[in-house]
Amino acid sequence: MLELLVQTGLNALYSASYISLVAVGLVLIFGVMGIVNFAHGELFMVGAYVVVALYSQNEVPFVLTVAIGLIFVGCIGLLMERTMFRPLRDNPLGGLVASIGFLMILQALASMTFGVRMAFVPPVTQDVIEFTDKIRLPVQRLYVIIAAFGFLTALWLFLTRTRFGWALRASAQDPEAASLQGISITQTARIAMFIGAGLAGVAGALTAPLISVNPHMGHSVIIAAFIVVIVGGVGSLEGAVVASAAYAIVHTFVTTFYDGVLADITGLLLMLIVLIIKPTGLFGTADRA
């Protein structure tokens, strides 16, 4: 039983890693721009297809591919900011609808470019760390855990130690006051979109060898990310990380000890309970909820 618990814990750690990357990006975009980006799951998908195009089909080294995935998807985020969210800055509902349209465009582009069927991504490594016969951590999954930790730490340092980061947090807390202090709302929105989209892209790129890459893969990820964002508190980065861990632990343990369908229901119940006890989410504040 102890071995089963430890193995399940390792599974949960991996799950929390990539979900937190996606959820933090989603929160960052909402926090700074006030827009719910429904296309965020598709940015995850695009990151995975960057790996298909470069690593799988053209043998570009995986690490380089992941870096390109981050930058490429970040640039898509900039494109979204410029063409959709900036013109609709005073219309959050319009931004939401535009993001739904954009997700369909990304899905269609992926289908037309790569086909509708699951794309093949060869394993980066087949090495496995064997703690015991029953406790094993594939090195590919360890890469995701380490990378997620690194990116989230870098983001935290950026937000707390740099002028751009302070500007971003100020804009998220009170855009009007930030603007009066000379902070460019447009500039902070650009940075938020680049980082938020890039994190989704890098999550997709990192996990591409471990999951089924297809044009519709963003759907299930965005559902988990939304649950995490709501549980953590809309607009709270710390909340997104903590809620990712909580969601991953609950979902993974319920799947292992009961079944996957019940795990999904439990995830939603977790959200419901948090909303009843603390409607703003674990780390949320009333003005953002």
């Binding site: 949960a12 991996y14 069927r117 093949f120 064997e130 471990l210 292992t256 996957g260």
Partner: protein, 433 residues
């Protein structure tokens, strides 16, 4: 709006004139129907299946196979009806495995395209289409006989007897590896997964193989299968059964089994694109993997009792045109068309009721894998499933190999009550669905 138009040089007068011309042309085209020319000699067949989305692997390759079939049939003179040769044309509609879209597609194919027969994957999409079938009397086919019920008289399952053929794999396993006595199973919780779960449970029970745990069901939206596999392996099974999981799930589950150190037997309904599974695991790990869908270059498909014509050539042409795309359904819809063609020529009509009558006449039919019986009233409430032999396929040295053909009716004659028991337990009998 008009100001913008005039700024670009389009005057109001020109705009109104153009609009009137367009409206007039539209009215004329609807008043005078398009002259059919050669249309009288074309039979249109509807292809209503998922061509995009996670279930596309069980739709799109089938359409590709049908196009090869149509090319061959048309080159050979088409279908002879009423003494005239009719070319076959497929009209495809992507239902995205969504019941509402399937219903829209069925209506469009019947009313706008004038198809004479519609082939579907079935499953979750069938409830959306069933009212259209009942209202129009259109002949539909499904790959999933679990869609059959006596409520709809124009639905047939002439190719796949999913999930009942899965019993043949388990029977072969029990006969050839009798030392394997314990199993676990996982499946997605949907219309495809659940009847298959019931079938595998019956087959394992009939073979004396003990289930170590309840089947582990997962949501079709699952992306990370590590927890599922951890749970399966925690029971120390000798056999892991992957039920009828979609290929998007079979691959990551197999990869997880490999990464979590499993070295036992795997049995699955499908193993589409198994070469990629080998690449993600190893040849040794995949050795002995049992499933139910052969590559059509298998020499066993040249046997005299096989009714699918030129199976090896079909596989070769398919792979030339769609390299690496061969899957479980690549040949299935085409084999249904063989039956439909024979029935239409026998009935001398493409009308749905006449074709259905001719197809089921005498209660016998020529299934791709040999002569078979129209069967199913016991399980589906109607004898609209064509059931006979089904191949058992094993991966040997990195290649799918047919190990034999086993009789589904013979298994059912011995163990039918077990199957009904488990189908009933999962609410999968026709009168429970």
């Amino acid at each position: 709006m008009f100001a913008n138009f005039t700024r670009n040089g389009v005057t109001r007068r020109k705009f109104l004139g153009s609009a009137a011309t367009l409206a007039g042309a539209g009215a004329l085209s609807s008043a005078f129907p398009r002259v059919p020319l050669a249309a009288d000699k074309v039979v249109k067949i509807g292809f209503l299946a998922p061509l995009t989305g996670p279930v596309a692997a069980w739709g799109k390759p089938g359409l590709d196979g049908c196009r090869i079939w149509a090319e061959w049939v048309n080159a050979a003179g088409g279908i002879s009806i009423g003494g005239e040769a009719h070319m076959v044309e497929f009209v495809a509609y992507d239902n995205e495995y969504d019941p509402a879209k399937a219903r829209t597609g069925a209506t469009k194919l019947i009313r706008e395209d004038g198809v004479k027969f519609i082939m579907m994957l079935g499953g979750d999409t069938w409830p959306g289409v069933q009212p259209v079938a009942d209202n129009t009397g259109m002949l539909f086919s499904t790959l999933l006989p679990s869609d059959l019920s006596p409520d709809t008289k124009t639905l047939i399952a002439p190719c796949e007897v999913h999930p009942v053929y899965n019993v043949t794999g388990v029977e072969w396993l029990a006969q050839n590896k009798p030392d394997l006595k314990t199993a676990v199973m996982c499946a997605q919780d949907d219309a495809l997964g659940l009847p298959s779960v019931a079938t595998y449970l019956a087959a394992f029970e009939a073979a004396g193989i003990e289930m170590l745990d309840e089947p582990l069901l997962f949501d079709p939206a699952t992306t990370d299968f590590a927890p599922v596999v951890t749970r399966l392996l925690s029971k120390n099974p000798q056999i892991v059964c992957l039920d009828t999981c979609y290929s998007d799930y079979v691959h990551p589950i197999a990869e997880q089994l490999f990464q979590q150190g499993y070295k036992g037997q795997i049995i699955s309904c499908t193993a589409d694109f198994y070469d990629q599974m080998i690449a993600k695991t190893s040849k040794e790990f995949m050795e002995g993997f049992i499933f139910q869908f052969p590559d059509f270059d298998d020499p066993a498909l040249n046997a005299d009792f096989i009714n699918f014509k030129d199976a090896n050539k079909f596989y070769q042409v398919y792979n030339e045109r769609h390299p690496g795309e061969w899957g479980a359904v690549s040949w299935e819809y085409a084999s249904i068309m063989d039956l439909w063609k024979a029935a239409a020529e026998s009935a001398d009509s493409a009308e749905p009721d006449a074709v259905l009558t001719a197809m089921t006449a005498g209660g016998k039919g020529k299934h791709a894998f040999g002569d078979a019986d129209w069967w199913g009233s016991d399980l589906f409430g109607i004898d609209h499933a064509l059931v006979g032999n089904w191949p058992v396929v094993v991966i040997e040295n990195g290649k799918a190999t047919i190990k034999g053909f086993k009789s589904i009716p013979e298994w059912y004659a011995k163990h039918g009550e077990l199957l009904k028991k488990h189908m009933t337990a999962y609410n999968q009998m026709w009168n429970q669905r």
